[in-house]
């Protein structure tokens, strides 16, 4: 088969099994767009801003486990994509970003729409390629997908100068399916000796806890995690990124840990004697002050990325390998042996945990007058029966959603945890809805966040994406306001979002349905109506209590055990 570079790009996508790509055309990718036009296998979603394309591809990837694919032009197309590439990078999301580049002969001349795309994206992607010869294109595409999806996944950028895709130059095409790279061969199996040591440590534990992270979701290891936790009968806490991998409704689940984590989860971390970290990376939002982190615990750390191990916290038993392989080996060793975990120890551990749980750290003051954000999320859970793909923007609404929407399945909670990118929610929801046309998809957002990618409402119209947008409208950059209230004596510097649009009218002008809810008693019916309108995008402008804060909250520079609690929780500050 003889193909041009542009046709090779498209054919390679087909050979990778890609069905949907997200993009925006421009001069340097016109050859590729022409090749796309002449085929029907790959569906192209035209976004309204390249940031939207990257977040949409990212949402697609997070909700399916398949790589998201982006196609943008050189210069501003590529720079607009950077935020989304960095977002995917920090959360280890497989993505292949194809960027056009000026013709090879013009590179380095400050040509029209030239930027050093590989240079800009290098520090925020897993790898970058600049294609030098059309003969290298097919192999580079294969390498990009291979690198993006294996080991610790991440975004890979392929920068393609325009002359490489010249339709008049045709070369023989064969897709290099069995690619091997001498410089890149991620491990899968964990070291059995280390795994046995870990099992020994667990059996000797009196107060063990599993700290599960995004790696469990990424490696589709939810089932193995559940099996392990049930087999041992030990508590499980999860990072923001790991929510859903262990069912939130299960009694062994202590909720999220970290800065806005549950009291019982953070206290259990602080008191644990053995910590089993699985696909988690000891992020500073999770650990609190490192010097006070898990002071009594021996730490087992399972991770595919050796550089994650002992980066922030020194661990006692590192196990490098795929989470799934390691968990399955661990389970096998446990099941083949006849050892028993210290039951008395475990019983008194659970008693303490139940006492912490009894505090009801997520308690909030309900109101008849004003909608509380916590109540809004609980209502969302009720209306959707817990069966929802929920994307989020960044701010208080994100934390409320993480705390109050009880995710029972992985890949259902889709948010920018590592980079904390406002503007992520709506385009990410587009990617999710594209991947799951018949599923309920909602985006929880704030009035500041939604404006960062609001243009994508047009994309939703064009592609008929019936996303439900749940705007927790508090009139403030709530998370910023909360910090200013707590740490800057209430000087609300530039955190009040003045001159907001009328979101209902705005939504209508894009051709969608917009509704406003102001009373707690109307909320459930409004949400119900939104989800009943199966084929329409519905934007709910929910006016919530502007003064609500997110609790619990680990105090700045403190350990897990020093949390500020909500006024409604039984006890005040725990010190």
């Amino acid at each position: 088969m003889e193909l041009s570079g542009a046709e090779i790009v498209v054919q390679a996508l087909k050979d990778e099994g890609v069905e949907t790509i997200f993009g925006y055309p421009g001069g340097s990718v016109l050859h590729i767009y022409d090749a796309l036009f002449q085929q029907d296998d790959i569906h192209h979603v035209l976004v309204r801003h390249e940031q939207g394309a990257t977040h949409a591809a990212d949402g697609y990837a997070r909700s399916t486990g398949k790589p998201g694919v982006v196609l943008v032009t050189s210069g501003p197309g590529a720079t607009n994509a950077i935020t989304g590439i960095a977002t995917a990078h920090l959360d280890s999301i497989p993505m292949v970003v194809l960027t056009g580049q000026v013709p090879s002969a013009l590179i380095g001349t400050d040509a029209f729409q030239e930027v050093d795309t590989t240079g800009i994206s290098r520090p925020c992607s897993k790898h970058t390629f600049l294609v030098k010869r059309v003969e290298d294109l097919a192999e580079t595409m294969r390498k990009a997908f291979y690198i993006a999806t294996t080991g610790r996944p991440g975004p890979v950028v392929v920068d393609i100068p325009k002359d490489i895709t010249d339709p008049s130059v045709k070369i023989p095409y064969e897709y290099p399916r069995n690619l091997k790279m001498r410089s890149y061969s991620p491990v899968k199996k964990g070291h059995l000796g280390q795994i046995k040591k870990a099992v020994d440590l667990i059996y000797n534990a009196k107060r063990p806890i599993i700290y599960s992270g995004g790696g469990v979701v990424i490696d589709n290891s939810s089932g193995s995690l559940i099996d392990l936790a049930r087999e041992l009968g030990i508590p499980v806490t999860s990072t923001l990124m790991g929510l859903g991998a262990y069912p939130a409704s299960d009694s062994q689940f202590l909720g999220m840990l970290g800065m806005h984590g549950n009291y019982e989860a953070n206290m259990a971390m602080h008191e644990a004697d053995v910590l089993i970290a699985i696909g988690a990376r000891f992020d500073d939002r999770v650990t609190g002050h490192i010097a006070h982190f898990c002071p009594q615990a021996k730490i087992i750390h399972i991770d595919i990325d050796p550089s994650s191990i002992s980066k922030n916290v020194r661990v006692d038993i590192p196990i490098v390998g795929s989470v799934k392989d390691v968990l399955n080996d661990m389970l096998r060793i446990i099941r083949e042996g006849d050892r028993k975990i210290d039951n008395d120890g475990l019983t008194s551990w659970w008693e303490r945990i139940e006492a912490w749980r009894g505090l009801g750290c997520l308690r909030y003051e309900q109101s008849d007058e004003v909608i509380k954000p916590q109540f809004a999320i609980e209502t969302l859970h009720k209306v959707t029966g817990g069966d929802l793909y929920l994307t989020s923007d960044v701010g208080q609404h994100q934390m409320f959603a993480a705390q109050f929407y009880k995710f029972d399945k992985p890949r259902r909670w889709i948010n920018s945890g590592g980079l904390g990118t406002m503007g992520f929610g709506l385009p990410a929801a587009m990617g999710v809805q594209m991947a799951h046309p018949d599923k309920q998809v909602a985006c929880v957002t704030g009035e500041a966040s939604i404006l960062m990618c609001i243009q994508e409402l047009a994309t939703c119209k064009q592609h008929g994406l019936p996303i439900k947008i749940m705007l927790m409208n508090n009139g403030y950059m709530g998370m910023v306001r909360q910090w200013q209230e707590m740490f800057y004596e209430g000087r609300y510097s530039h955190s009040y979002v003045d001159a907001l649009p009328d979101f209902v009218e705005l939504t209508k002008s894009f051709g969608h349905v917009g509704m406003r809810v102001t009373k707690p008693s109307d909320l459930e019916a409004a949400m119900q109506e939104a989800f009943d309108r199966k084929d329409e995008l519905v934007f709910l402008d929910i006016l919530i209590d502007p003064t609500e804060n997110v609790y619990p909250m680990i105090e700045a520079g403190k350990g897990h055990h020093v949390m500020a609690m909500s006024p409604a929780s039984k006890q005040g500050d725990q010190r």
């Binding site: 001498r182 410089s183 002992s310 980066k311």
Partner: protein, 164 residues
């Protein structure tokens, strides 16, 4: 804090070198010298990198380097017995009675005078970094015109080697 010499093989590809240097700046690792050239296998480059850091930072450096897609293999030369060499070209003012004196010093340090003008020499010298430092110090400061050093390259002693 300890001085480490990392020797690494990487794909001889555009961007590979930037990937390494960008890693050091992005993660705030210190880099003292870096020396790179293709090997007998033209698809591979060999890099020798010197850094002084704590053990935990060094662990991160090697892990992060290994994580780079272009890096094929690396080893810490300073972990075992090894030879390290650096080459220096130094231009010195050499006038009147100093012409003899500098020639004598160069001989003591086994340097070679490879360029001579009426009032200057260029001396070529190879050795470990301490020796080169020592030579620069024995030349009176106002006589040193220019110093060019390659940075360290090194190799393990015995049969131990860094090859594919």
């Amino acid at each position: 804090m300890k001085r480490h010499i990392i020797s690494l093989l990487m794909e001889n590809e555009a961007g590979a070198l930037s990937n390494v240097s960008a890693l050091f700046s992005a993660r705030g690792f210190n880099i003292e010298s870096l020396c790179v050239a293709p090997t007998d296998d033209p698809s591979l480059s060999r890099m020798t990198l010197v850094t002084t850091c704590s053990e935990s930072v060094f662990e991160q450096i090697t892990k992060q380097l290994n994580k780079l897609i272009d890096v094929v293999k690396l080893m810490d030369l300073s972990e075992g017995v090894h030879i390290e060499r650096e080459m220096m070209l130094i231009k010195v003012r050499a006038e009147k009675e100093m012409r003899e004196e500098i020639k004598r010093l160069a001989e003591i340090f086994r340097g070679k005078i490879i360029d001579v003008s009426d009032n200057s020499y260029v001396i070529e010298m190879t050795g470990d970094s301490d020796k080169l430092d020592a030579f620069v110090h024995v030349i009176p400061e106002d006589h040193v015109i220019e110093v060019v050093r390659t940075g360290v390259s090194g190799i393990a002693r015995g049969v131990k080697s860094l090859t594919l």
